[in-house]
Assembly symmetry: C2
Homo-oligomer: 192 residues x 2
């Protein structure tokens, strides 16, 4: 790989989001994304199967990070404690780049029902990744599903807070995630 | 409306599912669906905006039934008891027609990533419909979101059981829903 390639992925994502925002998702081609990124089409296709994948890549990474964090939780950890470890692992991988681009990413997704449907399926996939990782620890399927849904709700709430705070703010995603999961734990006690 | 129109909707759904199964979703046109149903294209468009809507119509109906049932629960009902009322209301509207066609509907959706993404978004919509109906009762947003996710998990589990039992079986969807929600209530106590 050439010397500049380690950050090729981020450059493609930034270039794609600029173009999607400026001229629309449907009107943007992979060739244009590559040109804007100062890279080649063949490099693009080493990182993404198509332009839609540029938007979904973050959610797939999150699924993997959740699952790895859950798998790495201490043996005696409760299901929700394992989910907290999954959230923590995801938080540790989120960079200022993710935070800065997230509002634009959400704005692009909001312009297209196709992209919204895709995002919804990826959310289902994130819950499933957490649930599968919990089941691999021997957690009952219904407990795993419930804990996974709480993890996803916590992630969505904390991530929204984090990106709303803006990049200059000092808020820490890991702390926001822990607080969000704790609020949901309290909410569960009020289900009746 | 002509005399035969009250069941036009069901005839379009049945015809569409036959064609989607036999020749594929992409290859099927609205004209073919109308012909198979013995109705006209203009009648089709009085019921559905396009062929994709034929598959999504059931999920939109469910969202409405969940919300109405939740709204109609007794004033002092707990969030989960209100969700149970929403599930009960949906169960009361499910017919042998729904049960007979559901396996074929799921098989068609499984053939297309576009349809899977659409179905995922509709599931998000169902949870949102329940959550909004709970919030309209004054339930805290996180309690509402959590109760709605449990309601959706219960519905998916019970509905899968119901259609797996086959149309000749005596199992009652309302009973399966209550049992599924009760199992999830027990699961919540094991989250840790």
């Amino acid at each position: 790989m050439a010397r500049w390639e380690p950050d090729a992925r981020e450059r493609f994502v930034a270039a794609a989001l600029e173009l999607f925002t400026d001229q629309g998702y449907d009107e943007t081609t992979v060739a244009q994304i590559a040109e804007r990124a100062g890279l080649t089409r063949s490099t693009f296709f080493r990182h993404f199967s198509d332009k839609r994948e540029v938007l979904a890549a973050g959610q797939e990474t999150l699924s993997r990070l959740f699952a790895e964090g859950i798998a790495g939780a201490p043996a005696g950890a409760s299901p929700l404690t394992a989910v907290a470890a999954g959230l923590d692992n995801a938080a540790s991988a989120m960079t200022p780049f993710n935070r800065a681009l997230a509002p634009r990413l959400e704005a692009v997704i909001a312009t297209s029902s196709e992209l919204q449907e895709r995002a919804a399926q990826k959310q289902v996939g994130m819950a499933l990744a957490m649930s599968d990782a919990l089941r691999a620890r021997g957690v009952d399927i219904r407990v795993a599903s419930t804990a996974a849904e709480l993890g996803l709700l916590a992630f969505k709430e904390a991530f929204t807070e984090w990106i709303a705070d803006g990049p200059e703010d000092e808020s820490d995603l890991a702390v926001l995630l822990r607080e969000a999961l704790e609020r949901l734990r309290s909410a569960v006690a009020q289900l009746g």
